[in-house]
């Protein structure tokens, strides 16, 4: 049992150390993802309290947060220098794709918000 907790502590420590080694730009993207997911969770909690009457508004709100989180993760994948598959993709192109996809997403959200 002590070995178990010891192992868990070691695990968390090594995770923290490994994560600290990632470049700052990726950490910013990760922060954005965390923020988006947190917003989505807050919206779900609010819906649980108040009820889901304009269901389309609830759906569009939650899905916009989840959607932009997913797109940010895709951007992180494409910009990460350790990723061998995207070695010759210029980061500007990745960011432009990210912006375009977000534009389409938010256009649809605006339409569905009601």
């Amino acid at each position: 049992m002590a070995k178990g907790t010891n192992d868990a502590k070691l695990l968390i420590q090594s995770l923290r150390k490994a994560y600290a080694a990632t470049p700052t730009s990726l950490k910013i993207i990760d922060l954005y993802v965390v923020y988006a997911v947190a917003t989505a969770l807050i919206q779900v909690a609010y819906m649980a309290m108040v009820g889901s009457f304009p269901f389309n508004s609830f759906l569009s709100g939650v899905l916009s947060c989840v959607g932009t989180a997913v797109l940010a993760v895709c951007l992180r994948i494409q910009v990460n220098k350790d990723n061998k598959e995207f070695k010759d993709l210029p980061p500007e192109r990745a960011f432009a794709d990210f912006v375009l996809c977000n534009l389409v997403l938010h256009l649809v959200i605006m339409n569905f918000l009601g």
Binding site: A8, L11, S60, L63, V70, C74, N83, F98, N111
Partner: protein, 788 residues
């Protein structure tokens, strides 16, 4: 210098190849368009069947009133007195596409009518579908396979059957949207570009707008993602291909009014959400694996598993309870009947009664996809060497569509693109191997004949390190050119033996030396290429025959060849035109639901039930009326404000799809809601007959009377050409209906409800009071027998 010359010639060859393939694709588009024009040439440019008439009417409304009125349209001329919300129950893709094309053409001052645009929408989009197949197969295997697959799809009879000129139905644009969505998904998977992921979501949106079959896409793609994860092919490109599609796709699907909140609440979409969660878990696992050492990773997995399994069990239990508690929010009836083929016949007779929903017979496979039926297994094998993400998707698509096509004959249409892709791959690989063998042999032949001595030396040096046996065979083959000048027979036999042994030894040689291509004997290759070309020719012949003879009938106009020439039966349009010109605008017409769309579109009269079949009770009411005696039927129709009743009768000319043949379905559907209609009452010893042996109920029901009224006057004996016997009750009068119109060949008969008598004498007064109260009851649709 020599290398640049070689490069120059190869780039020139590439450029020439590119131009040639563009030209070939253009021709494929022309073929796809032209092969669907047989019905326009043989009959006229008219809309076919039943469903296209509804789509045509909706497109007319859209072109006349604009998109906002179309989006909010409530149609009160159908399903009287309920009406139908068109804006919320129709898939708008097809009408919006045709409306846009019409608007574009008219704005360029090309005066096309709405009907012309509607008739030719399907052939145009089939050309687009062929090009989309080229793009998709190019992503899976290469340009050669792409062109072959496109050529095959342009002509495959299964697709032609639902997209001839005049078949203005959802599948006309939906198949193009399906293939295009799959192409963009595979392209995103191959390149990992978020731009293509966006385009993929937009193409999926177009598919959702067009057809209810979009659930196939939203279940097939998650299945493929799961397959990739399970077989260890997870990559970040997979995440980019799938995750944005789920979020954006769900949102876009919810935008379409028909789908609405079903996009997040029905079981058909749950698979995509489940795999969405799974792919996030897998991505996290791979990320952590990347930043931890292997030992620590093992610790992490044990920790997570113990916690995770407990949480998972709880979540799964909750989900199962949710789905089980609300059976209607689970799978829809149509999807359930796909998964369990016997579901519809047990619970929903309307779905079971549609002929398109029956399972196909074996001959229909050969009729619809012909040669592809045995090219497909070869394609599956070719997809496995080598296996890539795209080729695994093609195999999965084929396997699932084969299963679904086995359940419902209508879904052979979804099998067609998969079969074409597989066959294109198979044919192109076969041609590749054969032409490579031919080229190998011919270049070797020319090399040997031009430079004999050094070639011999070269051959022998190259085989120095092989076994002595091989040496003997190699030297034998170098003697080939000399032998070639001599008798052909001896050469062929010798070469075949040598080639067989050479083939057997080719593998070890290739392992030692440079990679030698697997080649076949020259004669075998030439004969095989010739046979494959003959196969292709037979396929083309069959497709053209199928398009011309089997699938080009507009079914609103019938023809028959007799000894004195061609007979044209235009009775349907005759009847609808009569209705249009001889009745009031607000008159209601009752008929079986098959003819509802055509009546509203061509006769412009309000109908009681139509092909949408969304209200089973309303259809059962009409079915009960058709199965009841005259008086009871009159009561039911009067309560629905019906003025005219329309029946289709084929007994005089031998038209087999008439209402008497469909009558048992009316009884079954009516009996499903009103229990006093029992199917056994209409059958004599379990057999359905209308001759002298028929039951009393059958001979007195409204359908029998309206079909056979005055029929005995045609030939004196009342011989029914479809049923092939004389009818049972020949001389009778109608008490509550009067005949107002019968078409030229007696195919459509229209009757008017007689108004109630003003003066009632004697005992009929009492029964009138009784019938008044019972008629109000039957208007309220109770389940008690109203005339007892």
């Amino acid at each position: 210098m020599a290398t640049s010359k070689v490069e120059g010639s190869s780039s020139l060859r590439h450029a020439f190849g590119g131009v040639l393939s563009v030209f070939i694709l253009l021709l494929i588009g022309v073929v796809a368009f032209s092969i669907r024009l047989f019905s326009v040439i043989k009959y006229e440019s008219v809309i076919h069947e039943f469903d296209p008439y509804f789509n045509y009417r909706v497109t007319q409304f859209l072109s006349k009133n604009g998109i906002y009125d179309f989006w909010n349209w409530f149609d009160d001329r159908t399903w009287y007195p309920l009406g139908r919300v068109i804006g919320g129950t129709v898939y708008p893709g097809l009408t919006l596409t045709a409306g846009t094309m019409w608007k574009l053409a008219n704005s360029l001052n090309i005066p096309l009518s709405v009907e012309t645009v509607c008739v030719f929408t399907a052939p145009i989009f089939s050309a687009f579908a062929a090009w989309a197949t080229y793009l998709l197969t190019k992503e899976v295997k290469g340009t050669g396979a792409g062109i072959t697959a496109a050529a095959i799809l342009a002509m495959v009879p299964s697709y032609i059957s639902r997209s001839v000129a005049g078949s203005y139905d959802n599948e006309a644009v939906a198949i193009f949207a399906l293939i295009f969505t799959f192409y963009l998904y595979i392209k995103t998977l191959n390149t990992g570009s978020l731009f293509y992921a966006t385009l993929n979501s937009l193409a999926y949106f177009y598919m959702v707008c067009s057809w209810g079959g979009y659930t196939f896409i939203i279940n097939l793609i998650p299945m493929h993602v799961l397959l990739c994860i399970v077989t260890g092919r997870y990559s970040s490109r997979l995440y980019i291909a799938y995750a944005p599609l789920v979020v954006l796709g769900t949102l876009l699907a919810a935008l379409v009014p028909v789908v609405g909140f079903n996009a997040v609440m029905t079981s058909e979409h749950f698979g995509s959400f489940l795999v969405f969660i799974i792919i996030h878990v897998v991505a996290l696992v791979y990320y952590i694996k990347g930043i931890l050492t292997p030992r620590l990773f093992k610790v992490a997995t044990t920790l997570v598993l113990t916690v995770g399994i407990a949480v998972c069990a709880v979540v799964v239990a909750i989900l199962v309870a949710l789905v089980a508690s609300s059976p209607t929010k689970g799978w829809s009836g149509r999807s359930l009947s796909l998964l369990d083929p016997t579901y519809a016949s047990k619970y929903i007779p309307i779905i079971a009664s549609v002929s398109e929903h029956q399972p196909p017979t074996w001959p229909s496979y050969f009729m619809d996809i012909n040669v592809l039926a045995f090219l497909v297994p070869a394609g599956i094998v070719a997809c496995f060497l080598p296996l890539s993400d795209a080729s695994s998707f093609a195999v999965l698509y084929l396997v699932t569509s084969v299963y679904f096509s086995g359940v419902m004959v209508r879904l052979m249409l979804v099998l067609a693109p998969a079969a074409c892709i597989m066959s294109g791959i198979a044919l192109s690989e076969a041609f590749g191997v054969l032409t490579r063998s031919m080229k190998f042999h011919i270049t070797k032949y020319f090399e040997c004949s031009h430079t004999e001595a050094p070639a011999k030396l070269g051959e022998s040096t190259s085989t120095e390190s092989s076994a002595p046996l091989e040496n003997m065979t190699k030297s034998d083959t170098t003697e080939k050119p000399e032998v070639a000048r001599k008798e052909k027979v001896a050469r062929r036999k010798q070469k075949k033996e040598k080639e067989l042994t050479e083939n057997a030894h080719v593998k070890p040689v290739s392992a030692k030396k440079e990679k030698r291509p697997l080649v076949l004997p020259l004669e075998a290759s030439i004969v095989s290429v010739f046979l494959l070309i003959v196969l292709g020719g037979l396929y083309v012949l069959h497709c053209v025959w199928a398009a011309a003879e089997a699938y080009s009938a507009p079914s609103i106009v019938l023809t028959s060849h007799s000894h004195d020439g061609l007979h044209v039966f235009d009775d349907f349009r005759e009847a609808y035109a009569w209705l249009r010109h001889n009745t009031e605008v607000d008159d209601k017409v009752a008929s079986w639901w098959d003819y509802g769309y055509q009546t509203t579109a061509m006769a412009n009269r309000t109908v009681i039930v139509d092909n949408n079949t969304w209200n089973n009770t309303h259809i059962a009411t009409v079915g009960t009326a058709m199965s009841s005696p005259e008086k009871a039927a009159w009561e039911i129709f009067n309560s629905l404000d019906v003025k005219y009743v329309l029946v289709v009768f084929g007994g005089l000319v031998g038209y087999p799809s008439d209402d008497i043949n469909k009558f048992l379905w009316m009884v079954r559907i009516g009996g499903g809601v009103f229990p006093h209609i029992k199917e056994a009452d209409y059958l004599k010893d379990g057999q359905y007959r209308v001759d002298a042996q028929a039951t009393h109920t059958m001979l007195n029901c409204l359908m029998y009377k309206l079909s056979y009224y005055r029929f005995v006057e045609t030939d004196g004996k009342g011989f029914d050409r479809v049923r092939r016997y004389e009818i049972g009750k020949k001389h009778f009068k109608l008490t509550h209906f009067e005949e107002v119109f019968t078409t030229h060949h007696w195919m459509v008969r229209i009757y008017k409800l007689k108004p109630q008598k003003n003066r009632i004498r004697g005992k009929s007064r009492k029964s009138k009071l009784g019938s008044k109260s019972t008629s109000s009851k039957s208007g309220g649709m109770t389940h008690k027998n109203p005339w007892n």
